[in-house]
């Protein structure tokens, strides 16, 4: 078990004893990865934040059920994914557009949170925003399990085995999901990937 894993397990053991400072530490550490996964799954900033909050509430409530044998992040992302799936099911039953939804093309898109040490010129920034939007849209169009596999692989230091645990499928199925997802992304983004427009801007 890695040091990070041990640290998370220690924190969870403290949470089990009612230590809110330990819980706060876990929330601080995982809030952004959890939010990224949820936001890229349901594409609504307000609802994503509510769901992320629910994820951590569930972690706190179910802390006694946590066993050190399980990696904390695997457990956490399983909860996050289950809540996302519930939300997707709820939306399919009540297909109403949220009034609070922040659409990707709206003016106050999450770019305000984009922390990047590189500096872009205005045109580079525009291109970067456009390309980011394209890839987000392509991700959005992927089947849920392919998208989650790719995001978990990107977001967290989760192994294939751990991702397969979150997705509740076999290791080979997980690898296949990753491959198929990436192939679809490459197909959809081919014009951009081929043109080299997406090359990392020089600092």
């Amino acid at each position: 078990m890695s040091a990070t894993c041990d640290q998370d397990a220690d924190l969870m053991l403290r949470v089990q004893k009612g230590d809110t400072a330990a819980f706060e530490e876990l929330v601080d550490k995982y809030k952004q990865p959890v939010m990224n996964l949820i936001y890229r799954t349901i594409r609504d900033a307000t609802e994503a934040e509510d769901l992320a909050q629910q994820v951590f509430l569930q972690v706190y409530k179910a802390a006694n059920r946590y066993r050190v044998s399980a990696k904390f992040s695997t457990w956490l992302f399983t909860i996050a994914r289950n809540l996302c799936l519930n939300e997707i099911r709820r939306r399919s039953r009540h297909p109403a557009e949220s009034l609070d939804a922040v659409r990707p093309d709206s003016e106050d898109e999450p770019m305000r949170q984009y922390e990047d040490i590189r500096t872009f010129s205005a045109s580079e920034q525009m291109l970067q925003n456009e390309l980011t939007e394209k890839i987000q849209k392509a991700l959005e169009e992927l089947p849920e399990n392919q998208r989650t596999a790719i995001l978990l692989f990107r977001e967290q230091d989760l192994s294939y085995e751990e991702i397969s645990e979150v997705l509740k499928c076999s290791l080979s199925a997980t690898k296949s999901l990753m491959h198929r997802g990436r192939e679809t992304l490459k197909q959809k983004l081919k014009p951009y990937l081929r043109s080299g427009a997406w090359q990392k801007p020089t600092s």
Binding site: M35, A52, P110, R194, W198
Partner: protein, 168 residues
């Protein structure tokens, strides 16, 4: 390096920067298989693009909100909350209180009836089980000559004694 090794390195590159040696291996492979170059380039740029995706927007006080929500939930489940409910109940008017009492009483009667029903069903099941056990016994007609057959040995013994005496 063969296709299999190339695929392995491609997967490694999805997550981490390749070492100088791995880069050299890829370079050599692409020099031998130029048709794989476009795929490699696409893979590389896609990986880079995914890594560059901006973080989702998150309220600056997200952690504080979560902790508040936890406190709220704990407060709702605490004894103080029960006291609060009791006080709220006491503040209700007579009409509401009577209605509430009637509902509680009704629910009690209903559950008692359900209990009696379950009890009678249980007794019925026991009776059926007993009857099925009795049904498994041999028929009465089959046992009609049971006593005669049972005493047949004694009768034969008596006759034999008389026969022996006569023969002597």
């Amino acid at each position: 390096m063969n296709q299999l090794d190339y695929n392995k390195l491609r997967e490694i590159a999805w997550r981490q920067k390749l070492t100088a040696q791995q880069e050299a291996e890829i370079k050599a492979y692409l020099a031998n298989c130029p048709e794989a170059r476009p795929d490699w380039e696409e893979e590389r740029i896609l990986t880079q693009s995914l890594a560059q995706l901006p973080d989702a927007p998150l309220a600056f006080n997200f952690t504080a909100q979560v902790l508040q929500a936890v406190k709220r939930q704990e407060a709702e489940a605490s004894p103080a909350a029960i006291v609060k409910w009791w006080q709220r109940l006491r503040s209700l008017g007579w009409g509401y209180r009577s209605a509430l009492a009637a509902v509680v009483l009704g629910a009690g009667v209903l559950s008692y009836q359900q209990y009696l029903l379950a009890l009678s069903r249980e007794e019925l099941a026991v009776s059926i089980a007993t009857v099925s056990r009795v049904a498994a016994l041999p028929r009465v007609t089959g046992l009609r000559d049971f006593d005669t057959i049972q005493h047949l040995d004694d009768v034969v013994a008596v006759i034999d004694t008389k026969l022996l005496a006569a023969l002597q």
